[in-house]
């Protein structure tokens, strides 16, 4: 299974043809919620271009933890609810996390005379995101298995 779409999964391959309007509307609505949440965090916690972008770092790492939780829940608990992945996974978490701002933050820090901060931000975002997604799946697997 894939958070966005995996055409190897028959149900995901069919979902757009079966309910194109509903699926795309769920993704768009989720994307709006996720992007506004990210915008809220970034506005409340703004940073100087040369400084470490803690807002986007936190958004991306927390979003990766949550996708790990979500994907296990979908596989183990909600495999029949076909709109959960489009709305929460593709929409909310896809719209909440961002790759483009993360790399432009790196470039901006380097441009403003802070290459060390840029490199640290780049590396800790990547490592943090991967640890978070692993932790999200592992913890949820544990909880789901115990119940």
């Amino acid at each position: 299974m894939d958070p966005d779409v995996d055409l190897h999964v028959p149900a995901q391959r069919r979902e757009l043809r079966k309910h194109p309007g509903v699926v795309l509307a769920a993704i768009a609505a989720g994307g709006v919620i996720g992007a506004l949440a990210r915008y809220g965090v970034a506005t409340a916690w703004s940073h100087d271009p040369a400084a470490f972008s803690w807002s986007i770092w936190t958004v991306n790492v927390s979003g990766c933890f949550l996708i790990g939780v979500l994907m296990v829940l979908i596989a183990r608990r909600f495999s029949r609810q076909s709109l959960i992945r489009p709305f929460f996974g593709v929409g909310i978490l896809g719209g909440y996390t961002t790759f483009s701002t993360s790399v432009v933050d790196v470039q901006q820090a380097a441009e403003h005379g802070a290459p060390g901060t840029a490199l640290l931000y780049l590396a800790t975002t990547l490592v943090g995101a991967l640890v978070a997604v692993w932790a999200g799946t592992a913890l949820t697997e544990l909880v789901v298995r115990e119940r």
Binding site: D4, G31, G34, Y39, V90, T98, S100, L122, A129
Partner: protein
């Protein structure tokens, strides 16, 4: 007003990521997540371009925070990397993680330079 522009950009960016991912997967049958890789690199190029112009705050909200923000994703990227690693394709997982970040960064610089050359 800014909130509405962010929302509008995201309402287009998120479904476009899903549709692009589908279109790319339909054209090739690889376990490597080319769909997410592509949207992330293209979104980084566009955001680099916008930063390089630079554009006013309304366009930054609509196209940068909203559209590029929702078109690109870190959550799907990290999950797909974990999935590759768990399936035993460790080399592909590393290639996706390092390759996406380097390609995204390179694309952002290309976008920036393009904007400055205009």
């Amino acid at each position: 007003m800014t909130v509405l522009l962010v929302a509008l950009g995201a309402a287009i960016g998120a479904p476009l990521r899903y549709l692009s991912d589908r279109a790319i997967q339909a054209r090739q049958d690889s376990v490597f997540p080319w769909g997410t890789f592509t949207v992330n690199v293209v979104g980084s190029l566009l955001l680099g371009f916008l930063i390089g112009l630079p554009v006013d705050s309304a366009l930054t909200a609509l196209l940068g925070t909203g559209f590029c923000g929702a078109l690109t994703t870190y959550s799907t990227f990290s999950y797909e990397t974990l999935k590759l690693a768990r399936s035993g394709a460790r080399l592909l997982a590393v290639a996706n993680a390092v390759g996406s970040v380097l390609a995204g960064l390179g694309a952002a610089y290309v976008g920036l330079l393009l904007a400055q050359a205009l």
